[in-house]
């Protein structure tokens, strides 16, 4: 049901020309995805998706839109036959691949047998944090999270450097031209 919502939203995004509506629909898409995560008991991921996907990124997209323009140009229609065939073939292959996957929540699935039992059995004694997601994220996978923070730091620095340079260079270029 929720997945059907996603499909409907995706088609609406393809057909609309008003970019504000498209951004709003993209935020809605994130929100529906967050609901799906909640249904699958991944509350932490849902929280992130709702805050980042539906919240901040929508605002940043709207800020970008205020710099560009509201309507998108009507694209020239190239021959879409080959791309459609490729997309359909890939989709069919992926769906065919899911037939071999274990059912959702299957206790015998490989993902449930690898490191998950160790975390579930030992983290209350080793880390003692009630939210096991936090103990995995911050303690067992501390290196990964350090890397993620470094990525966010780099993203912030990159935006700063890119947009700052533009502003500082423009007077120099004006001088050179005049």
């Amino acid at each position: 049901m929720l997945l059907a919502f996603l499909v409907v939203i995706a088609f609406a995004v393809i057909h609309l020309r008003d970019l504000v509506a498209i951004i709003m629909l993209a935020g809605l898409y994130s929100l529906v995805t967050a609901i799906i995560f909640v249904v699958m008991d991944a509350v932490d991921v849902a929280f992130t998706e709702a805050a980042v996907g539906a919240g901040i990124s929508t605002v940043l997209m709207l800020a970008t839109l205020s710099l560009t323009g509201r309507l998108r140009r009507e694209p020239r229609r190239p021959r879409a036959l080959i791309p459609i065939i490729v997309v359909i073939l890939t989709g069919v292959t992926l769906i065919y691949g899911t037939f071999d996957m274990p059912h959702y929540g299957d206790p015998d699935a490989p993902v449930q047998q690898h490191v998950a039992p160790r975390y579930i059995n030992d983290s209350p004694n080793e880390v003692g944090v009630p939210n096991m997601v936090t103990s995995v994220l911050a303690s067992y996978r501390g290196f990964d999270t350090l890397g993620e923070v470094a990525v966010i730091f780099t993203a912030g620095i990159a935006v700063m450097v890119l947009l700052m340079n533009r502003r500082r260079r423009s007077p120099d270029e004006d001088k050179e031209q005049s």
Partner: protein, 141 residues
């Protein structure tokens, strides 16, 4: 946006609540869903809301750009510093067990500190991005 009385009044009520919720998510991440990433985003959302309604200049009065830059770096430094501290205390890098006498307490302390680092960096990165996106509009006009 100077005349939007309803928006301004509602925002003035909402912004402190959003900030409070961000701190709740930050420090309650050990017990419920949430943590540094989400808290950072929510905290930055409250400031961005302020910027959207009262304007970028007012937001830069509230939180100076150099403060945001210091926050951006200090979050990563807190995280890395916890790792180095655990190295100096005789453990592995980011092994929080050595931070306190009891390993479980050490884990609690370590997780609290690194989540704080994550939250500070995420919030500062979001505010930085907003500053520069919103600032470009004024340079173009």
């Amino acid at each position: 946006m100077r005349y939007h009385l309803v928006l301004r009044t509602v925002a003035k009520i909402l912004i402190p609540l959003i900030m409070l919720f961000a701190f709740y998510v930050q420090f309650h991440g050990d017990y419920g869903p949430g943590g540094g990433f989400q808290a950072g985003v929510i905290f930055s959302a409250s400031l961005i809301l302020y910027g959207l309604i009262f304007g970028l200049a007012a937001l830069k009065q509230v939180i100076r750009p150099w403060v945001v830059r210091v926050m951006l770096a200090s979050g990563v430094l807190i995280y890395g510093g916890v790792g180095v501290a655990s190295l100096l205390l005789g453990g592995n890098f980011l092994d929080y067990g050595v931070l306190a006498h009891d390993p479980v307490h050490g884990q609690h302390l370590g997780i609290l500190l690194i989540e704080l680092g994550v939250g500070i960096t995420v919030a500062a990165a979001m505010i930085t991005i907003y500053f520069f996106f919103a600032g470009r509009k004024t340079t173009k006009q």
